[in-house]
């Protein structure tokens, strides 16, 4: 009789974006533990991808996030093109940058105006903020709309675009389609500058941290899709070496993995603050001038100022989008064709919230054998907890409700994909 015992093990735990909580434990009045608790079930996208045709990866991975689907599509197609040994046309490279600008505009405008700005005025929501700052909120909504419009034109629809293909796009936009949105973007650049000046005047809590900033870097452009991975502590590696320097670990209190910098066994920071610190010279001229005008500190390490960094990137995204929109010539072909072959490849691109790494292995029939995805939220998760550990000792004299509010606020500095859920954060204090 055959042995009927069986072990089923799921080894590829994957990411969540959704609801989270925070547990803080105090021992004898001291902060003993801070746990950002992402408790949604794992979504297992990496396992889901195995055995699927490689062409499906951009659209399946886009489903990981409704606010940054383009980032998932971009990392997926670049990694798969590396696996196939392909090069894309320069015009396609430009169109991909344009699409990414749309996502940055949409995501950054939303977070700045409706999710983050309310924190600086004691408002419980963007709706409450709108009463005090109607013109600013109205402007934010218009900016967000521009991002959506660009995604519609280039991606086929505003949420979960469907036009991104391995090798390029299923269809390239016509010149007149882009001409239609050009005036909005000309207005938007000025409006983004005004929005950034507005947020730069906020009253920022004084909290400075010793971060290791990590971002893509490209000498000739503000890195979005390609570049080397660099850090503020001297790391400078090709994307292919990412897994030799960074790893993900399971922690008991979260279904999302924690990323760690292997050399230091410490957290690190990805996202706008890291990108502006490492790539300030590559910002567009308007954004760079604005950073100087606002005296945005080089290597700024106050996490609350991330809203200003996000504003500078909003300006940059408009500036770059305008340049591409004005010079666009329809490509000779919307994509490069390829023949499936066995191979492996990886890529990192800059999602609005930070570095997003993908690696794939493909078999000779073009089926995915392996997929690995490291999203920015899991890379920042340990850093968020570390910020809270630094912040909490200053808050312990406050009532629980106020501590919870201040912790939520610190979490929102990161615009994590659990940011909306952290608006409904459940704080559990133990041992007071």
């Amino acid at each position: 009789m055959a042995d009927s015992s069986r072990t089923i093990r799921v080894e590829a735990l994957t990411r969540v974006e959704g609801e989270g909580g925070l547990n803080v434990r105090l021992d004898n009045g001291e902060v003993a533990a801070v746990e950002l608790n992402i408790y949604e079930p794992p979504r297992l996208f990496e396992a889901l991808l195995r055995g699927r045709a490689l062409e499906e990866a951009p659209d399946i991975t886009a489903r990981i996030c409704g606010i940054c689907p383009v980032a998932y599509q971009m990392s997926a197609v670049h990694a798969l093109e590396a696996a196939l040994g392909m090069s894309i046309l320069p015009e396609i490279r430009q169109l991909r940058r344009l699409l990414y600008c749309g996502e940055w505009i949409e995501s950054h405008a939303l977070h700045m105006h409706l999710l983050h700005a309310p924190d600086f005025f004691g408002c419980e929501s963007g709706i409450a903020l709108a009463e005090r700052f109607p013109d600013e909120v109205r402007r934010g909504l218009r900016l967000k709309k521009h991002g959506n419009e660009l995604l519609e034109v280039l991606g086929g629809r505003a949420i979960h675009p469907i036009n991104v293909a391995v090798g390029g796009f299923y269809r390239a936009p016509r010149r007149e389609e882009l001409n239609r949105i050009l005036p909005s973007f000309e207005w938007g650049l000025e409006a983004a500058v005004s929005a950034t000046r507005w947020v730069a005047m906020f009253d920022f809590p004084d909290l400075t941290r010793e971060y290791e900033f990590v971002a893509l870097h490209h000498p000739d452009e503000y890195a979005l899709n390609v570049g080397r991975i660099v850090s503020s502590r001297g790391l400078n590696i090709s994307v292919q070496d990412f897994e030799q320097h960074f790893a993900e670990r399971q922690v008991p209190h979260s279904t999302a993995l924690h990323s760690v910098r292997l050399a230091t066994n410490r957290p690190y920071l990805v996202g706008p603050l890291a990108r502006v610190a490492l790539n300030r010279e590559q910002l567009g001229p308007t954004a760079r001038r604005l950073a100087d005008e606002l005296k945005f500190p080089p290597g700024c390490n106050n996490p609350y100022l991330s809203i200003v960094a996000r504003g500078l990137e909003l300006v940059h995204a408009y500036e770059e989008a305008l340049t591409i929109l004005r010079s666009y010539v329809s490509p000779t072909a919307s994509r490069v064709t390829y023949a499936p072959r066995a191979g492996s490849g990886c890529a990192a691109t800059e999602a609005p919230r930070g570095l997003l790494y993908h690696r794939y292995e493909v078999d000779v029939d073009g089926k995915l054998v392996l997929a690995k995805i490291v999203p920015p939220t899991s890379q920042n998760q340990w850093q968020i907890e570390d910020d809270l550990l630094a912040l909490l000792p200053r808050l312990l004299h406050l009532p629980d409700e106020q501590i919870a509010g201040d912790c939520e606020r610190a979490i929102r500095n990161y615009d994590p994909c659990i940011s909306c859920s952290t608006h409904f954060l459940k704080l559990r204090m133990e041992g007071r």
């Binding site: 974006e17 489903r63 409704g66 709706i127 409450a128 909504l141 967000k144 709309k145 629809r157 940011s419």
Partner: protein, 151 residues
């Protein structure tokens, strides 16, 4: 006719297509009947729907919802009835219909008359088609909107 926006909220997924289906049919009907002063469009999110309301006196949002007792039941709500707050948002980064209308209200851009008309859906899965129950009530909703536009 008073300047009116009719906005079909939806997505390509299952019964969530309802708002778009109604908007598409209405666009044809309004063109055929040459009704002036009415703009019909699709939107993907409530926030998107309330983004361009300058000069509009009447707003009608059409959506599918997880509500009602029977699939295909039509539920007609007038802002600011609290029942609108029971209609769920679609994602953690999205605004619900209530939040979006409340935001527009605080911004002073909400038209004086605002209605939310929904059909109770049952199947919202990705890549699913609309259910028969919802498809069956698309013509009814189109007729109801056209009647309302005459007022």
């Amino acid at each position: 006719m008073v300047p009116t926006h009719v906005i079909g909220l939806g997505s390509p997924h299952g019964d969530d297509q309802f708002g778009w289906l109604v908007a598409d049919r209405l666009t044809d009907e309004i063109e055929r009947r040459q009704l002036a002063g009415v703009t019909v469009r699709r939107a993907v999110s409530p926030l998107d729907a309330v983004n361009r309301l300058e000069g509009i006196e009447r707003l009608l949002l059409i959506d599918a919802c997880h509500c009602g007792d029977t699939p295909g039941e039509l539920i007609k709500l007038l802002w600011p009835t609290p029942a609108i707050a029971q209609l769920r948002g679609t994602g953690s980064h999205d605004f619900s219909i209530w939040q979006a209308l409340e935001l527009a209200s605080r911004l002073g851009s909400l038209p004086r008359e605002c209605r939310v008309w929904c059909a109770a859906g049952i199947e919202f899965g990705p890549a699913a088609g609309p259910s028969r129950s919802l498809l069956a009530v698309v013509p009814q909703m189109v007729e109801d909107v056209l009647m309302a536009l005459k007022r």
